[in-house]
């Protein structure tokens, strides 16, 4: 109070109102009708009250994946990310006093480049979906062409985001089909659709059905388009990196690497490319340099691509990104290391495949796609999707993603079907409960 008085005296004003004398009376409002503030403790109680209405994966097993995934997050990851020097920092505009964040992001970029087999990765995009949008725009910037081929069985949210991202470029989105038996790319059809207007081909491995698709290996040779590959970063502990099969851009969901799902946000868009394309790349890049003593130092670099310098001509409008999520992921990958990542990929694949077999041996439940899967898979159900879902819920189990009920895609060929995800966090007993419950549905 006294402080404010002193400051007002210094300014020679009698009331705070004077500081707002430049705001026309006609636009002033009487106040904000949103109630009074409350003290911290009352909010602590209130937040617990409200949030207790949520059921978490500790309250019931949840077999949902479909874009974001439950994984074990080492407690140390939270310790790192909750260092207030990290989380209360702004973008490292003054690098000399921000080496911690810069080096961590440099490590993140390096990890992603290593995993994807690409030359460079940026310091983050918002999420997988917007990374796809940015990738499509970048393809257009690279070759000036206007058509992008995407899988028909792409998650509808990604399609929708992509549509918005390329709208400004008047790019055409063309869907290529998949083989309904295997769930893999219909590679002949894809080949047929590629022509001189093709700016980019986008393929996912594993795809939305969880199917591992070796067809991605063939796409590069189909032409001179920008080849965009979407990955699950953990699967790269086992699978060939897209860099090895000619990808120009690799995108994916980085939430998977040590970030909690948080009801779907914040997430972390992975974005990697080849060095030759780097100046067309969206997003922030951290580079290694030296300080005036010749000591290794890190700094934001190639900023001339970015909006604060290039404005209307920037490669993207992105400014705030998901830096802290990248910190989570750098720490996560460091805790896991090479052996952990490989092992984790194995565990995911192994346990999901086991579960798939168990479920598909129940009468009426069948395998939708006769392929290898990473950590999720589609099962055809003998009952209405929603019925199975509700029955499971009544048993305290949250089933998978309902392929036709919840998706704006439709998959009529699947009939009633559920996309089930199994990772290392699903216990033996969780899986047994799921299988037992499925047996009981009638």
């Amino acid at each position: 109070m006294d402080d404010e008085k002193e400051m007002m005296d210094f300014l020679g004003i009698k009331s705070i109102e004077e500081l707002f004398s430049d705001i026309p009376e006609s636009v002033k409002i009487g106040g904000l009708d949103i109630g009074d503030g409350i003290d911290e403790h009352s909010l602590r109680i209130k937040a617990r009250e409200i949030l207790s209405k949520n059921k978490t994966s500790f309250d019931m097993p949840i077999f949902l994946g479909a874009g974001v995934y439950q994984h074990y997050i080492p407690s140390g990851v939270f310790s790192v990310a909750s260092r207030s020097e990290f989380y209360t920092a702004y973008t490292p505009y003054q690098p000399e006093i921000s080496q911690g964040m810069l080096q961590t992001l440099f490590e993140y970029q390096s990890y992603i480049a290593e995993l994807t087999g690409m030359d460079v990765a940026n310091a983050s995009m918002y999420d997988y979906a917007t990374a796809l949008g940015e990738a499509a725009r970048m393809a257009n910037a690279i070759n000036g062409k206007n058509e992008i081929l995407i899988p028909k069985n792409l998650q509808w949210e990604k399609k929708s985001v992509l549509r918005n991202y390329v709208k400004g470029l008047d790019m055409k989105i063309i869907e290529y089909p998949y083989d309904s038996k295997t769930g893999k790319i219909n590679i002949e059809e894809l080949k047929r659709l590629i022509n001189e207007k093709t700016a980019a081909v986008y393929a996912e491995n594993p795809n939305f059905f969880g199917v591992i698709d070796e067809n991605v290996l063939k796409i590069r040779e189909f032409g001179n388009f920008v080849f965009i590959v979407g990955i699950n970063p953990i699967s790269l502990g086992l699978l060939k990196p897209p860099g090895d099969y000619g990808a120009d851009i690799v995108i994916g969901e980085g939430q998977i690497l040590g970030n909690p799902i948080n009801f779907g946000g914040p997430l972390l868009g992975i974005f990697a490319t080849k060095m030759e394309h780097v100046r067309k790349m969206p997003g922030r890049l951290i580079g290694m340099s030296k300080d005036r003593d010749g000591k290794r130092a890190f700094v934001m670099t190639l900023q001339t691509r970015e909006q604060h310098i290039r404005r209307a001509k920037a490669t993207s409008n992105i400014c705030s990104n998901e830096a802290l999520c990248a910190v989570f992921s750098a720490a996560y990958l460091s805790f896991l290391g090479k052996s952990g990542l490989k092992k984790l990929a194995e565990i995911n694949m192994g346990r999901a495949e086991e579960t798939r077999k168990m479920i598909c041996s129940i009468r009426g439940y069948t395998n939708a796609h006769d392929s290898l899967h990473f950590n999720e898979f589609v099962v055809k159900l003998p009952f209405e999707e929603i019925k199975v879902h509700r029955f499971l819920l009544s048993k305290g189990i949250h089933g998978g993603y309902l392929m036709n009920t919840w998706s704006n895609n439709s998959f009529p060929e699947l009939g009633n079907a559920m996309l089930l995800n199994v990772t290392e966090v699903h216990t033996d007993s969780d899986i047994k409960r799921l299988v037992d419950a499925l047996k009981e549905v009638k």
Partner: protein, 484 residues
């Protein structure tokens, strides 16, 4: 005197160890038969002990500056105190461990918070509807401009493909405009740093989709002509867009809605005290007036008096602008902040932010050039051009500030001020801190005269000395595999 921690820290890849952390079910054998052609052959990573990883990042964190350490007067960024209770709340299982596709009956708490936040933002923005989906300010702009486009196209008005912005605008404004398929028309500011009404009039046409500004603008000056601007824009059939990064200067005093704006994006990580995370995540909800409501992204959170639900039935929805429902954990923090402040509290936030700004403005006047008028809202832009005569640039002033254990202001923005030093103290800095900040800056102005080398070689007390940024861009080393 201040010295930042210095650890001669290796890159994680340069460390040696073995993995100590165990994974669930890792002791079993899995028969994973990937076709050879798809099998990964190499993975150039190392293994490390949990302990060493932790230390590595803790040490790195000590070489980073955050608002929890000291003053962080980064203009336009609104680096205010981030309530610790928000962090406590978002670390609850009920925030972390819920999946966006969960049956809505099992996430009523999450939906309630989102709904309440939507309602609060409507009031604060003077808007009729809000989407929480955009995940950053720039994403909010992009969303807003997609709405602009959808609005005009819905009216079969396809020729409106121009967005006007003032030359004082943030870079994201023109960049977002491009992303949404518009051409950006930049108009010069008038001699007061404000919208030049004549220039605006000239630029406006039937091709104008929207005029995009922030008020107070990036100089921290409130444009008193705002109603006239709104009239001009609307008269031409265009929409008026509000960049909410500067909401901290008017919250509770006026609203964008009241000023005549049709669309506004909120920067929750600025105005609503969610931590900036070293560059993100943020959240950039968008509010619109009634005539734009039908275009909002799906889903929208609704409440039927008993049950909260996600509504995908939005008549002319533009679809989606991000994977799910926005940056939920950031939304929760903003919700908590608003709950703590309440309506009066938010107004007080603004009042104090503006008082602080004008206080430091007056303290520094005479030591640094102050272009344009005196009265500012939540931020003030000085110019360091008075120090040029000593061979010292604003960059040097900024670097020297670091030596005193405070962060530098935003520099070289907005572009219309030469050698700009853009200071935003925010409401959470005490008078004592601002006196301290002013003392430092005044001292540095004196140092510039007496010992310009000291500034030009600054910083001296940080983990590393001044970095060669040119070299970094000339020979980019962007990953550890590029190190020679």
């Amino acid at each position: 005197m201040f010295h930042q921690a210095v650890w001669d820290e290796k890159l994680i890849i340069e460390m040696k160890g073995k993995r100590s952390l165990r994974l669930p079910y890792e002791d079993r054998d899995y028969n994973v038969e990937i076709p050879d052609i798809l099998k990964r052959s190499e993975l150039n990573l190392n293994d490390n002990e949990e302990h060493e990883v932790l230390r590595h990042y803790v040490r790195l964190s000590q070489m980073n500056y955050g608002v929890d350490l000291n003053t962080y007067p980064l203009g336009s960024c609104t680096m205010k105190f981030n309530p610790k209770l928000s962090e406590e709340i978002v670390s609850m299982d009920q925030v972390r461990y819920i999946h966006p596709y969960q049956d809505q009956s099992t996430v009523q708490g999450a939906l309630q918070i989102m709904y309440e936040l939507q309602e609060y933002l409507k009031v604060i923005g003077g808007m009729d509807a809000v989407t929480l989906q955009p995940v950053a300010g720039a994403d909010g702009e992009f969303t807003g401009l997609l709405l602009v486009r959808a609005y005009h196209e819905n009216r079969k008005d396809y020729k409106r493909r121009e967005i006007i912005v003032p030359d004082s605008a943030h870079g994201t404004n023109p960049a977002s405009s491009t992303m949404a398929g518009f051409t950006t028309i930049e108009i010069p500011s008038d001699k007061n740093g404000l919208v030049d009404l004549n220039a605006l009039k000239e630029a406006l046409s039937e091709k104008t989709a929207a005029f995009m500004i922030t008020n107070p603008n990036t100089l921290g000056i409130f444009d008193e002509n705002i109603l006239e601007i709104a009239r001009l824009v609307h008269e031409k059939g265009a929409l008026l867009y509000y960049d909410g990064a500067n909401l901290n200067g008017i919250m509770g005093i006026t609203t964008p809605g009241k000023m005549g704006f049709d669309i506004v994006h909120f920067n929750l990580h600025k105005t609503f005290a969610t931590p900036h995370g070293g560059g993100g995540p943020g959240a950039g909800p968008v509010g619109v007036k009634r005539h734009l409501e039908d275009f909002l992204p799906v889903p929208v959170v609704r409440y039927d008096g008993k049950y909260y639900y996600l509504d995908y039935n939005v008549k002319n929805t533009i679809g989606k602008v991000a994977g799910f429902y926005g940056n939920f954990a950031v939304l929760v923090r903003a919700w908590a902040y608003i709950k703590l402040q309440g309506g009066n509290g938010l107004r007080k936030v603004t009042e104090r932010a503006v008082l602080n700004t004008n206080y430091i403005r007056k303290k520094l006047q005479g030591h640094y050039d102050l272009p344009y008028k005196e009265l500012r809202k939540h931020e003030v832009v000085f110019s360091g051009s008075n120090l040029k005569k000593y061979g010292v640039r604003t960059l040097d002033v900024a670097k020297r500030m670091l030596d005193y254990g405070v962060h530098a202001p935003t520099i070289y923005f907005p572009l219309i001020v030469e050698e700009a030093l853009m200071i935003e103290p925010t409401e959470t800095e005490s008078k004592e801190n601002m006196d301290h900040l002013a003392d430092i800056m005044i001292k540095i102005a004196q140092e510039a005269e007496k010992d310009p080398e000291l500034l030009k070689t600054a910083p001296h007390n940080t983990a590393v000395k001044r970095i060669d940024e040119v070299e970094a861009a000339r020979n980019p080393v962007l990953t550890w595999k590029m190190i020679k």
